[in-house]
């Protein structure tokens, strides 16, 4: 354990999304990390929120790619644009 000021549960939960999103400055992230290590109430909440985010991310990865025909049309249109306005 470090001598960083400890967070209470409310403070930790307020910062939990920013922590999961990787948007907290290092010192703040460390404090949230320490709290989660020590708190049996917040730790499962963190795991679940992170799983929710991963779940959404997996949906995006499974999302459709641009149809080959559209890819081709866009490319041809850009080529035509380049030739029209070199």
């Amino acid at each position: 354990m470090t001598d960083r000021p400890r967070l209470n549960c409310r403070e930790a939960v307020e910062q939990l999304w920013a922590y999961i999103d990787g948007e907290l400055p290092a010192g703040d992230a460390d404090r949230v990390h320490d709290h989660l290590e020590a708190c049996s109430a917040c730790s499962p909440q963190h795991d679940y929120q992170r799983a929710f985010r991963e779940f959404l991310k997996a949906q995006a990865r499974a999302g459709p790619a641009v149809p080959a025909d559209l890819r081709r049309r866009i490319f041809l249109r850009l080529l035509a644009e380049e030739e029209a306005r070199p």
């Binding site: 939960v13 991310k57 030739e83």
Partner: protein, 201 residues
């Protein structure tokens, strides 16, 4: 013009950097277009084309080496808003005063309820893509855009702020509120379908 008929020799765009920095985001822009248009493929097709055409025409204004993805998303959303002549101020009062710390707690609470009902996380394995898409499409536009850009496309808060043209605090409150609404929508659907127990015991 010989380029189209060049056969095995694929034609290339000569505008420096466009093929390497912009074109790799074609799938991402198409997905974003689908989200913006509520899954309308014809509209998403037009929107993606128009986005890349504009990006191509204005490529000299793009700062090379910065994030082309956020730049393309910004163009895409602007084209979409203009095409819809949407009242973007419509929901401003809804979220301009929100405190993102309060939203973060409320959002965590919505997921906490879900966790109570579904400790085994069967929820995450049970959904059909179409029901998730419908839940995302059902979010108010501002919240949907934040959730899609963050949770699905992985943009940083500062990048989302650029795309949406709002301060980072607003990004946070929109994102947390969107997540809460989405968790609630999925929770309600999960209960209806029996994926989660329904009513914490």
């Amino acid at each position: 013009m010989q380029r189209e008929a060049a056969g095995a020799q694929a034609p290339r765009l000569t505008k420096p950097g466009f093929e390497d920095e912009a074109l790799p985001w074609l799938d991402a822009v198409y997905r974003f277009s689908l989200r913006l248009t509520g899954g309308n493929e014809a509209e998403a097709d037009d929107l993606t084309q128009e986005t890349f055409l504009r990006a191509f025409r204005h490529w000299d204004t793009f700062q090379r080496g910065t994030n082309a993805r956020s730049w393309l998303f910004t163009i895409c959303r602007n084209v979409f808003l203009r095409s819809r002549e949407r009242q973007v101020r419509r929901n401003e009062s809804l979220e301009s005063e929100l405190d993102f710390a309060v939203e973060a707690v409320a959002s965590a609470h919505a997921l906490h309820e879900l966790r109570q009902d579904d400790p085994e996380r069967t929820f995450f394995r049970s959904f059909l893509d179409s029901s998730i898409d419908a839940a995302i499409a059902g979010l108010p536009d501002e919240f949907r855009d934040a959730v899609v850009l963050s949770d699905m496309e992985g943009l940083a808060y500062s990048e989302i702020a650029d795309v949406l043209g709002v301060p980072i605090g607003t990004v946070k409150s929109r994102l947390y509120r969107g997540r809460r609404l989405l968790a609630k929508a999925l929770h309600d659907y999960g209960r209806e379908m029996g994926y989660v127990r329904g009513g914490a015991t």
